[in-house]
Amino acid sequence: MAKIVVDVMLKPEILDPQGNAVASALPRLGFSFAKSVRQGKRFEIEVEGEPTADQLAQVEKAAEVLLSNPVIENFVVRVEK
């Protein structure tokens, strides 16, 4: 079944203490791959049936007013199979 996913990330210019904490923990554990880590939120929204254009528009709106804080965060809405 399809679900609508909203990814919410701090804007790039905003300090991300959590991402930083992860980024500095990785090398201590021997992982060297990361140049930087940002941590955000992922919302998985289950809808009845296949997501419709109208639902997606509603989700966009909800992402803007509820799921994200536009002062410090950006979001992306998409459908995931």
């Binding site: 701090l10 300090l15 410090i72």
Partner: protein, 741 residues
């Protein structure tokens, strides 16, 4: 953008500069040119503009705040007074205590969680900077009406932000206020107080002394946070954006601050710094200029050495950045090795960015080119000073001439309804919804916290020496009479400490007002300062520091004048404190002080939409006698509770609910007795065989006393009105959960 250097500034005197956009007035800009003998570079302009903003320079308030020094009472306790990051007082046994309150109002309106969080972070660094270990925080908060949409937006975030930051630092939150009023819609007040303790010898100052000593920046890396935040956020123009890529909000990292605290305390313990300054508003501009200005004046800084989170920042932006969790220390070269080692232990980023010179100029370079060359004093301490016009606003005479006209309860049913109405009113209802989000136990020294009259912490586990702090403001009274309002708030804060048995010692204050460019607001401000300064002189309490927050207004409507007064007191043995309520039946309840018909500015009048009449007049000599009575009575009082907002009705409600022990009260004039808010009153509970002792004290200090009733039972009974504790509790505790979930 090309680099604007001092030599370019010299050769291009006529370049047009955006001083107005940066908040500088034409004459201020002209003065900068006069000081420098040329146009400022863009970096210098950035520094001056931010340091000469209202927030950093106190240009509108300075002429008034001077009174705190001029009228200062003689105090042997004062070790460091106004002018440093925070004042320091001697509390005995070799201990010194530092405390200060600050505002973070506008940032908390824009981003409630981060605004409140970084407000806590900032005041904690001020305390740390004095060389002290922070030991507790308090947060007086004010919001629009409890059911307003704006309040529902900002309150949960602000409370979570205060808790989120303070809890993570391990600082017990021991008190504060939550008050609602229409005028705070769009202007929530987030005031944050921190208290810290050290030994006398450990006091640190913001001074860059000793040529050749190193300027060391340590803590978080510098990002674009709050660039222009100080001048933009804290001025009338907030809301109009700057560069879109630069965040106007600062984001806090409490973990980094916690580590910074422990790291700094270890550094202090080994005596590795000559001077130290936190980076708060105006960031490096403020820290470098204040440190240099506090010393002999000479300092050289290589700005390109500053570790950046965002490599795209320009030198001007680096100078203005308000990235949190940073400190700047002056370190002798022989001690830098150990300094770096301690930073390494705590995994704290540390960089030597410059050195103290024997000149008298602050010189900042960017990759070798000089971009700032200024006399630091002109940036930090000799900013513009305004004697702004002020005039008593027209509303004063109008409201003072009216009389409060509200329904007064008569029958038993009406009395019960009035008590319940007050018990559930947002301003008086149980605040556990808020305070349960704050850790009050951490550090294991908390003796009193919410909902006690004051917060109290133990300083020494062996001697049981402790301090108590209370913050108070009564904006209704300040609105009716700002001079009296400030005095009354001072008296209330002092009384709140004395009820527990602590002797008031020193004062801090946070003055929250509308626009200083409004002569009426300026008058409210001036009257408040005058009242506080006079009050402190009368009570013998020095003002050790504080903060001014202007421009708290929406359009032409200013917030109520809200001077929040913090009083700190000392208690020799915390084990002897008097609790705010009783735990057993059969005690006698007495009212200290006489009740007049003081309904002006009362909660009862407020609940009926009235803010008219004359505020009470503070009688501070009497307040001081009452304080002495309380301190002496501490030896035999079972409980003592200050009466303030909501009068006797609220005071009794809080006492009976505290330990679920009821009381039977008889009042001759119940309506006025319950609802009036006459200042200088306290309820005490004593064993019945202590009556003559109380009588003797009352005579000695000439304070009127009257018997209210007896403790016991499972209801609050007032004359014929019987209010079961369960009903009272339900009303008192359900307001916040109902409003905020």
């Amino acid at each position: 953008m090309s680099l604007d250097t001092v030599s370019i500034a010299q050769s291009t005197p006529d370049n047009v500069q955006p001083f107005a956009e940066l908040g500088l007035k034409p004459d201020e800009y002209a003065r900068i040119k006069e000081i420098l003998g040329r146009r400022p570079t863009s970096s210098e302009l950035a520094m001056y503009s931010v340091m000469w903003s209202e927030h950093c320079s106190y240009k509108s308030s300075k002429v008034h705040l001077k009174q705190f020094g001029d009228k200062a009472p003689k105090s042997d306790a004062l070790l460091v007074g106004i002018g440093e990051n925070a004042g320091v007082v001697d509390v005995g046994q070799g201990y010194a205590v530092t405390f200060k309150i600050e505002s973070h109002n506008h940032p908390s309106f824009i981003e409630p969680y981060q605004g409140a969080a970084t407000g806590v972070g900032g005041i904690v660094r001020d305390i740390l900077t004095m060389g002290a270990r922070p030991i507790a925080v308090m947060n007086p908060l004010r919001f629009g009406p409890a059911d307003a949409a704006d309040t529902r937006r900002v309150l949960p975030g602000i409370v979570a932000g205060v808790g989120g930051y303070g809890n993570c630092l391990g600082l017990p939150n021991i008190g504060g206020e939550v008050v609602f009023d229409e005028t705070y819609i769009g202007n929530p007040l987030v005031n944050a107080l921190c208290v810290g303790v050290m030994k006398h010898g450990d006091i640190k100052l913001a001074k860059a002394a000793g040529a050749g000593n190193l300027v060391v920046l340590y803590g978080a890396k510098t990002g674009g946070d709050g660039i222009g935040g100080v001048s933009v956020l804290a001025s009338e123009t907030f809301g109009s954006g700057g560069s879109t890529k630069r965040p106007s909000v600062q984001v806090g990292d409490p973990f980094v601050e916690k580590v910074l605290i422990e790291c700094s305390l270890e550094i202090f313990a080994e005596d590795l710094v000559v001077g130290i300054q936190d980076l708060g508003g105006a960031g490096l501009s403020c820290a470098t200029s204040e440190l240099a200005s506090g010393g002999s004046g000479g300092m050289q800084v290589a700005l390109d050495k500053v570790p950046l989170r965002d490599p795209s920042l320009s030198p001007e932006e680096i100078l203005m950045s308000e990235s949190q969790e940073r400190m700047c220390a002056i370190v002798e070269p022989s001690k830098i090795g150990r300094f770096l080692e301690i930073c390494k232990k705590w995994d704290v980023t540390v960089t030597v960015i410059g050195e103290v010179t024997d000149g008298d100029r602050l010189e900042i370079t960017w990759n070798g080119e000089v971009i700032v060359n200024v006399p630091p004093r002109t940036v930090a301490h000799e900013g513009p000073v305004y004697n702004r016009p002020m005039a008593q606003p027209a509303y004063i005479d109008e409201v003072n001439s009216q009389k409060v006209n509200v329904p007064m309860p008569n029958s038993a049913a009406e009395i019960k309804a009035a008590v319940l109405k007050l018990a559930g009113a947002p301003n008086l209802a149980d605040k556990s919804w808020v305070t349960a989000q704050y850790d009050k136990y951490v550090q294991g020294n908390t003796i009193q916290a919410q909902p006690d009259d004051s917060g109290m912490v133990r300083l020494d586990e062996t001697t049981n020496l402790g301090v108590a702090i209370s913050t108070d403001a009564n904006a209704n009274w300040s609105y009716l009479n700002p001079y009296q309002g400030a005095k009354l708030a001072l008296a209330e804060a002092a009384r709140n400490i004395a009820t527990a048995g602590a002797r008031p010692l020193a004062v801090t204050n946070c003055l929250n007002f509308g626009s200083p460019e409004d002569p009426g607001v300026m008058w409210q401000f001036a009257e408040s300062v005058r009242g506080l300064a006079d009050g402190c002189l009368e009570m013998g309490l020095p003002v050790t520091g504080g903060n001014v927050s202007f421009y708290n207004q929406t359009g032409s409507v200013a917030i109520l004048p809200t001077p929040v007064i913090g009083v700190l007191g000392v208690i020799q043995d915390v084990r002897t404190r008097t609790p705010m309520s009783f735990t057993s039946a059969g005690l006698e309840l007495y009212l200290l002080g006489q009740t007049q018909e003081d309904l002006a500015g009362s909660e009862w009048a407020f609940l009926h939409g009235q803010r008219v009449g004359q505020s009470p007049t503070a009688d501070l000599a009497r307040e001081m006698r009452l304080i002495e009575l309380l301190l002496e009575g501490n030896a035999f009082f079972n409980a003592a509770h200050d009466l303030s907002q909501g009068g006797l009705s609220a005071g009794l409600t809080e006492m009976v609910l505290r330990h679920n022990v009821g009381a039977v009260i008889s009042l001759s004039n119940p309506a006025v007795d319950l609802l009036s808010e006459t200042p200088g009153r306290v309820i005490v509970a004593i064993e019945s065989n202590k009556t003559s002792q109380l009588q003797a004290l009352a005579t000695k200090y000439s304070i009127e006393i009257s018997k209210l009733g007896t403790t016991g039972g499972d209801s609050l009974t007032i004359n014929e009105s019987i209010i079961s504790l369960s009903e009272l509790r339900e009303v008192h505790t359900s307001t916040f959960p109902r409003l905020f979930g």
